[in-house]
Symmetry: C14
Subunit: 78 residues, 14 copies
């Protein structure tokens, strides 16, 4: 068990961070397009805001799963 | 079994995170385009919202499969 | 058999996740373009919805094959 | 034979997933452009639908070949 | 011969999948542009369809060559 | 435990930094689009500002999770 | 000779597949632009078709060379 | 402890630099879009300037976290 | 000499394929632009055709050099 | 300590250079957009110049942090 | 000398092929733009043709240098 | 000390070159946009020239830091 | 000295080829834009031609430096 | 010292070539935009030419620094 700890830590670090590349870009695109939509058509602001929150929540799940696996892996160290 | 644990953890970490790059970008594109569509044609808001949820659900499955394999791999550690 | 388990797990993790990069981006593009098409021409909504589901289903198969191989590989661990 | 199993599994995992990056993006582009074409010119819907299915089928073959090799490789494990 | 089997399998897996990245994207671009061309100028539908099939066939050869080498390599395993 | 410390540190370093690639680009896109939206439609400034803060907060969580795992890993060194 | 077989197979696999990334994208671009050209100016259809075949043939040579080297390498295995 | 120092240093170096790729591009996009917004609508200059500072501050946190982990790792060397 | 054969084969495989990525994309761009040029200005068809052949020939040399080195390397195997 | 010096130097070199990829592109985008803004609306030149300096200063901090860690690592060599 | 032959061959293979990625894309862009220029302004055809040949010749030198080094390296094998 | 020299040299080489990728692209973008701005609005030439020099100077610092670390590392060789 | 020859050759091969990726793309962009400029404004042909040669010469220096280092490294083999 | 020579050569090769990727693309962008600017506004030709030379000179410094480090490293071989 001792010998494998370093690689387990590496796995935990990658689990929580690689997905963040896509999630970060995705949140930026979603948010940015929402601002544009509101600026172009202010009266749909409520609809867009609701959908933006739902999209961000879905995006959050992607990184949360990575965090979950990272926690489970970290629990095996030490 | 002991010796392979580190690499199994690495596999689990990669399983849950690499797919997240594409899923994150995909959710951002889908969400962002949905806001644009609603802003341009507010009366199709209901249709677009339904399709957005379906698209997000399909995207969610991609990352869930990765999570599933990661769970199965983590179950082999410790 | 014992010694190879780590690498088998790595193969399973990669099998289910690398394809997800393309599938995630592809689902996002397909979904996003579908919203645009509906917003521009609401009366083709039914046609586009049907084709979107078929495209998403084809995309789903790509990741399912990866999941299938990952299952077969995981079955060889432990 | 025992010693090589891990690498064979890695090969199977990569065979079924790397191609999925391109196939996923390609299906998304093809599908998305088809929705646009139908929205711009609804009366060519039938033609476009047929061609979309053929394009998706060709794309499917790319990933199927990867799956085929992955099956053949998995058959050598265990 | 035994010792090299893992690497042969890796070569087979990469042979059939790396090319798929380009072939997948290429098929998607070719197909998508064909839909656009038909939507813009429906009367050239026949010409475009024929050329699309020829382009897809050329693209298919690229992945078939990879499959061929993969088969030859797999034949050396086991 | 001693031997694995270097790899644990590598995992901590990657955990906090890889996700930053996506988060940085995402924050830049979201912020930049917000400025554009305000310049195009100054009266939606309040709405956009609120949504921008929410988007930035979501993006911040992505990197915070990475920081969290990095802290947990660093705690195992020394 | 025995020991090097795995690496020879890897070389064969890469020889036939890496070039396919560019050839696949290139065939897709060439084909797609040809459809566009025919749709915009149907009377140059014959010229474009001839040039498309020549371009595809040149692209085919790129992958054929890779296949040729792969065959020569495979001939050294087993 | 001695043996791992090199890898710890590598982790510290990567922690502070990989995130900088995204943060640098993000700051450039945010700043550049702010200049555009001010040039297009000079009277929203105050609003945009405030939001730009907030966005830059959020971006700064991303790299500061990396610096923090790098400091903690460097503290374990020597 | 025996021990190095695998790496020589790897060099041969990479020599003939990496350049193909650029050559493939380049041929596709050159060809595609030629079709566009002919469609926009049919009377320069002859000029463009001649220049396209020259450009394709120059592109072909790039991959031929790779093939040449690959042949010379393969000649050292076996 | 002696044995790890090479890797420490590698860490120092990467710390100061990887972030430079993003910072360099970011400075170029920010500067380039500032020139555009001034050319389009010369009377906001003062505002844009001030904001450009602030953005460049923020970007400079990103690379300075990398330099700082690199100095601390170099101090451990020799 | 014997032991290093494989790596020398790898160096030769990379020398002649990596540069080809850029040269191939560059030749494609240069050629493609030349066709466009001739189609837009047929009377500058002579000028553009001369400059295209000069640009292609400069591009050819890039790959020739790689070929030259590859020849010199191959001369050290066998 | 002797054993680590190669890796120190590798660190020096990477320190001075990786950042150059971003700095080179950034200088090209900044310069190119400056030419455009001057061509569009010749009377702001003086302002743009001053800002271009400042931007180029900031970009130069990025690569100078890399050069500095490279010098310090090279000083440890030999 | 004998043992390091392979790696020296690898360094020579990379020195002459990696830079070629950027130089090739850069020459293509510079040349392509020059053709466009001449087509749009034929009377500046002389100016553009002179500047194109200067730009190509600067680009050539980049690859020549790589060739120079490659020669110096090759001189140490054999 | 003998043992490290290969890696020193690798460092020299990378020092002079990696930066060339960015410098090459940057020179191409700067030059190309300069041609455009001159074609659009021929009377600013002198200003643009001067600035282009300054930008190219700054870009040249980036690759010269890499060459400098490469020389210093090569001086340690043999």
């Amino acid at each position: 068990m001792e010998a494998a700890m370093g690689t387990i830590a590496l796995g935990a670090g990658l689990a929580v961070s690689i997905g963040g590349v896509g999630v970060g870009i995705g949140m930026g695109i979603a948010g940015g397009r929402a601002f544009e939509a509101i600026a172009r058509q202010p009266e749909v602001g409520g609809d867009v805001r609701t959908l933006l929150f739902i999209t961000l929540a879905f995006l959050e799940t992607v990184i949360i799963y990575g965090l979950l696996i990272a926690f489970m892996l970290v629990g095996n160290i030490g």
